[in-house]
Symmetry: C2
Subunit: 316 residues, 2 copies
């Protein structure tokens, strides 16, 4: 049997077919093309599902379930998207709409996109085989999902697991959520770029100016590239960023002490340059034991995590 996974993003909609070994058999995508109605997006999802099944050469009789990952506050119990700001959806009955299109032939499960990505990494990626894992994606914001005691931590009203919006610097940088000093403002890709620009303005002689070509061209690689070429200002940015990230991860260890914490997002392309110093600080800071510590890994499914995890929503 096969699972269908749908990842609804602000830019694109992706649909994948996942086999019983949790491998991706086929995938297709289209633009989300916002703004448009929830129904119109769903009708494109139906078309994508047909295309993906054709590509994988399977029929409806081979489908076990459809899972959908969606940004926003998702009422997984009722199958309703309570609120998805960047899609403009409000109390949309996503589960029912898609189930009806397939005349109730199989169940449709829905979840928050960061939770879906965590489930993908948990079953098929960096945390495969673990009992518990927390997955943190360092993108424009910080997405996170926690699987503890074999269950997803969703909170009583599907707003839990928002590790990105825990304060690590009291009265610190203002966050979009209304708080000050949330982890997201120090460890997201956006935050890394901000830290880099601030350091560049303090360091007019830094190599980062040449590497990036200007403040507007700065990206998450800039300080790492500069550090690799011996630039002190670049080193300061990298050290500062890893310090914040280690603090945030040590907090997660002390709360959940999961078997694995996986981090994803573009900055993780730095590999051991990021991972080795990070592990060292967390090991010194977090509670552990001589026998067993939380392992910090890099996500392996990349942008497919949400789609694959959505397909596997029925497995958790």
């Amino acid at each position: 049997m096969y699972h269908i996974g749908v990842d609804i993003g602000g830019t694109s909609i992706k649909v994948g077919i996942v086999d019983s070994n949790y491998n991706l058999a086929a995938d297709v995508s289209c633009k989300t093309a916002l703004p448009r109605s929830a129904e119109s997006v769903c009708d494109d999802i139906i078309i994508l599902i047909s295309k993906a099944m054709k590509k994988a050469n399977i029929t409806l009789s081979k489908i076990k379930n459809i899972g959908i990952g969606c940004p926003g506050t998702i009422n997984t119990g009722l199958g309703i998207v309570e609120y998805a700001n960047n899609l403009g959806w409000n109390k949309f009955p996503l589960k029912k709409y898609i189930e009806d299109k397939f005349e109730g032939k199989f169940p449709v499960l829905i979840a928050n996109d960061a939770d879906a990505a965590a489930i993908g990494e948990f079953f098929a990626g960096s945390a495969k085989g673990a009992d518990s894992a927390v997955v943190i994606t360092l993108g424009t914001g910080v997405g996170s999902g926690a699987i503890i005691n074999g269950k997803l931590v969703t909170g009583q009203y599907y707003g839990g697991g928002e590790i990105g919006h825990t304060v690590i610097e009291y009265n610190g940088r203002p966050c979009n959520c209304g708080r000050k000093g949330c982890m997201e403002n120090y460890v997201s890709a956006t935050a890394l770029i901000t830290l880099t620009k601030e350091e560049m303005q303090r360091s007019p002689d830094s190599l980062m100016w040449q590497i990036a070509g200007g403040l507007d061209e700065v990206n998450g690689k800039t300080p790492f590239d500069a550090k690799n070429q011996g630039d002190e200002a670049g080193s300061r940015v990298v050290e500062s960023y890893i310090g914040y990230l280690a603090c945030a991860i040590a907090n997660v260890v002390n709360i959940f002490q999961p078997e694995i914490i996986s981090i994803g997002g573009g900055v993780c392309n730095q590999g051991d340059n990021l991972l080795l110093p990070l592990r060292e600080i967390v090991k010194n800071e977090a509670y552990g034991s001589p026998e067993k510590n939380t392992e910090i890994k890099i996500c392996t499914l990349g942008n497919d995590a949400g789609m694959i995890g959505a397909a596997l929503l029925g497995e958790i």
Copy 2:
């Protein structure tokens, strides 16, 4: 049937008999009288159990199980106290020792004392009837226990749920755990006293000097009493303390979004003076929904929480 609960503390050992409605039928206690061997402490526990049963007028045949709450890192699976710094215990097989004394007539369960207190409040106290709860005790340090999806969050090696050791102020006040800026250093009773003394030193005209009688006499009531008498310095301490506590609690909401967060410890005797401003800030800061928010309550079992929760370890 009855449950026996044992709370091993640094100062006293308490044993209670809890009935099937989770009410305390009888309790007895003795001094822990450290330093002495683990075996000697356990032999006193056996004597206390006999006394408590006599007091409640019940026989061994009416006992379902014995539960023990103990400070330190507790391997609940193996029944071993891995490490309890203030008792001086290291890899002590607590479960087996007590079970053997009763010739295996009933199971002995063990848990960390903060987790036991959380279970007590969950089944028999402030969070009775809830699906999920986090209990935070503001004492010399900060103890915490989280019950999510019907299970205790213990971590893979029994070191999870240490919410007190999550950093809320990056590079902030040094903590006993080795980190800097842990919540414990801002919201424990000890931290409140430190904040008060610091403010008194900045404010030689504060009423707090008269109320306490001197720096060494300051306690957690001092700034609240001063505030109630219109003292501005006292108000600043109270506002600062509640700000930190709200930040820490909003973090817990954003991670777990439990049905209830219960706080305990001497400072909670301030009642609404503490609770009302705290709820207001958390409501503004934390993720919630129009329909349902995490409720913040004050613990109701006081110092009995650990003993009652220990008795109920088999219920979770």
